[in-house]
């Protein structure tokens, strides 16, 4: 039963709200006045905020606010500030000889971390998030390199790309399409497949592989080497190891020999600055398969090969 009688509660001297539910009443204790002033203060604050900062949603955007603050503008400032912080590292990286980079663990680590983020922007589309690649896109974690896996070589590959037809310094090679162009008959290709699989221990010696050996000698050894270990100067893969870019099962191999492959990588020298390319090289080198720069090569040669960037 609800009544509507306001009364003064005896023990507290406070008015009730006038409602009663089964004998339970509620006191209408006055709020402290400072609480009201606090509320007014927040209203004043809100008015100031609405004037100073973006607030009212309009059709296309919000009101601008007299301070002109935007979250995009703030992000730009923070990004610019971060770039300024990183500038000394980028300078140091560009002016460091790649041969001595590994002797400078701190700079190397900074380069690797920079490369890690650049990789996520520019490289993951083909090589995958963990740089594990996929069929036709090399796994950068392993210890098998088509063009070479030392810092300078990786930097050169990144700068000039692979098989860019409009660029002189690009890494270039072209395997003939033995089947499509009629160089080899399909039974000969099957013999060759058997021999190539024998090279990496995937098949046992057979009549087919023996026939294939002769065909290999005549058609393939010039690039892949008489023993099938490949040639990095022309990106000819090593056929004797456990790793292959397009697969060593019979179907894939038949396809490769019949139609050839023509893997392309963009030349990043026209898109990225030299420091970022060096960071990417350091990151790729750090993934577990990085090789030492050969000592036989002289510094002058190395400079001639990798120093000139396309942007410069």
């Amino acid at each position: 039963m609800m009544t509507n009688k306001k009364r003064i509660d005896e023990p507290t001297g406070t008015e009730t709200v006038g409602h009663e539910w089964d004998g339970i009443e509620e006191l209408d204790t006055p709020m402290p006045r400072w609480w009201l002033w606090t509320l007014y203060a927040t209203i004043v604050w809100a008015i100031g905020y609405v004037i100073l900062y973006p607030a009212w949603p309009m059709v296309h955007s919000a009101t601008e606010g007299v301070l002109g603050w935007t979250s995009r503008g703030q992000l730009e400032q923070q990004m610019a500030a971060r770039q300024m912080e990183l500038e000394p590292i980028r300078q140091a990286l560009v002016s460091t000889d790649m041969r001595t980079l590994e002797g400078n663990p701190e700079l190397m680590q900074q380069a690797i971390e920079g490369g890690r983020s650049a990789f996520k922007v520019h490289c993951v589309q083909c090589h995958g998030f963990g740089a594990a690649g996929s069929k036709g896109y090399p796994n950068l974690n392993d210890d098998d390199w088509l063009w070479g896996g030392d810092l300078e070589t990786i930097e050169y590959t990144l700068t000039h790309g692979i098989r860019n037809p409009d660029h002189d310094q690009t890494r270039f090679s072209q395997m003939p399409s033995f089947g499509r162009d009629g160089i080899l008959q399909s039974n000969e290709i099957q013999d060759l497949v058997s021999y190539v699989r024998l090279l990496s221990g995937r098949e046992k010696n057979s009549a087919a592989s023996t026939r294939g050996a002769a065909l290999f000698e005549a058609n393939c050894a010039v690039c892949h080497g008489a023993d099938g270990t490949g040639d990095r100067t022309q990106g000819a893969p090593n056929l004797t190891d456990a790793i292959s870019l397009y697969g060593l099962d019979r179907t894939s191999l038949t396809d490769t020999i019949t139609n050839a492959r023509f893997g392309v990588m963009p030349r990043w020298g026209q898109r990225l600055d030299p420091a970022t390319i060096r960071m990417l090289a350091a990151y790729v080198h750090s993934l577990g398969g990085g090789e030492k720069i050969p000592v036989a090569e002289t510094a002058a040669e190395a400079k001639a090969e990798s120093g000139d960037n396309e942007q410069s």
Binding site: W34, A132, D142, D143, D249
Partner: protein, 485 residues
Amino acid sequence: MNNPKEVLDPDLKLYAARKDVFPKAVNGTFRRLKWAIMAITLAIYYITPWIRWDRGPYAPDQAVLIDLANRRFYMFGIEIWPHEFYYVAGMLVMAGIGLFLVTSAVGRAWCGYSCPQTVWTDLFQHVERAIDGDRNAQFRLKDAPWGPKKIGKRMLKWSIWLFIGFWTGGAWIMYFADAPTLVVDFWTGQAPFVAYATVGVLTMTTFILGGFMREQVCIYMCPWPRIQSAMMDEKSLTVTYKDWRGEPRGSVKKAEANPGSFGDCIDCNQCVAVCPTGIDIREGPQIGCITCALCIDACDNVMDQVGRPRGLIDYATLEDAELEKAGKPHNPVLKTLFRPRTIAYFSIWVAIGMAMLFAVGNRTRIDISANKDRNPVFVQLADGHVRNSYTINLRNMENRPREMTIGMTELKGGVMWSNDGSRETAGQTLVTKVPADSVARLRLYVAAPGEGPVREDFAITVAAVDDAEANDIDEVFFERPETGE
């Protein structure tokens, strides 16, 4: 008492203004106790950051330091890392249960004596009395027109309050950085912005909460008075006006004129005058009473003057009050304090404390966390082996650099190397150096023959080179591609 006409009284407002409280100075046992507790708590607060504690060359020498930038909490001989935050949680639980214990035994003693709001308000009220005079002078000054004298007194009082507030904030920041360095930085403008902002905020909160909000904080803002009513029971000591002895009230003259018809309370209002929250304890226990016991001092002084026994207002339990009303003897104090409830709280409190001490004493200061890299889950190597990689975090929680041996349990044909080494130098163990008081992260490569189960469990171990007892192990697994093409 309340006339129904008042229902329509226009004076009953939606919002109530604060009633001024100008507590009168008083002397007595509890006032001295409050002085002592104020001195001790303020001394602890101001002096603690300046205590030095030698931890060797690799760690700060401040005894109590909350090093947020480096994520370390130092407390004398104990150093806590972020992953050991449960010790801090444990201390908070102990503080909570300690509060339960105190409240169930002696009521709102925390509120009355050691709550910072009480201590600083008390300090501010002393300043107020020193500048403006005692209770009556303060009333007069409040009603006086704003003239040079009043403005001068107000400016002086507020300046002192601001000064105290400034030192309150100034001491606070010393807990978060090396105190001597920070003081110099602060006054030469070198300190970080957050230091100045913190001091500014704490100066103003101290000024406002201690100078103006005072009991409003306890009555409207603090949740603890509400919780405490659930913590107390009929055996908890609390400040009690013994109405069965005091009522009906009457002046000494009236009592002399009508012997036997008046109680001991002479209605002198001294208990109200000295109350820092402005309540009348004679109305019974109430939310505004912080049990500071100053009304006990005031009443005892008056009883002494009129030659009546002390203790008209006294610490008593509800149960004792009922017994006394019925003319029976009290429960013994020890029986009141040591009852199942307080003993239970105390036992829990001690148990947590002992468990934490035991855990701190036995914690290992070397720790390994091994996480298998998942992208890629494995890497096929040219020679047919398979390589997995692991991200290893090695924690060296001692204040000296340590050499550690990383090892691996049985993984057939498995070898490992780190990003500093190479596969040519790989083996079953490797040694790495971890700097003092830090975490070393390294990438660990493990290679094993390609033939084997798709998933193979093993573990990575770590042990200090100089102390094999300091060791840790983390279980991981090795993954291989499905065999066959």
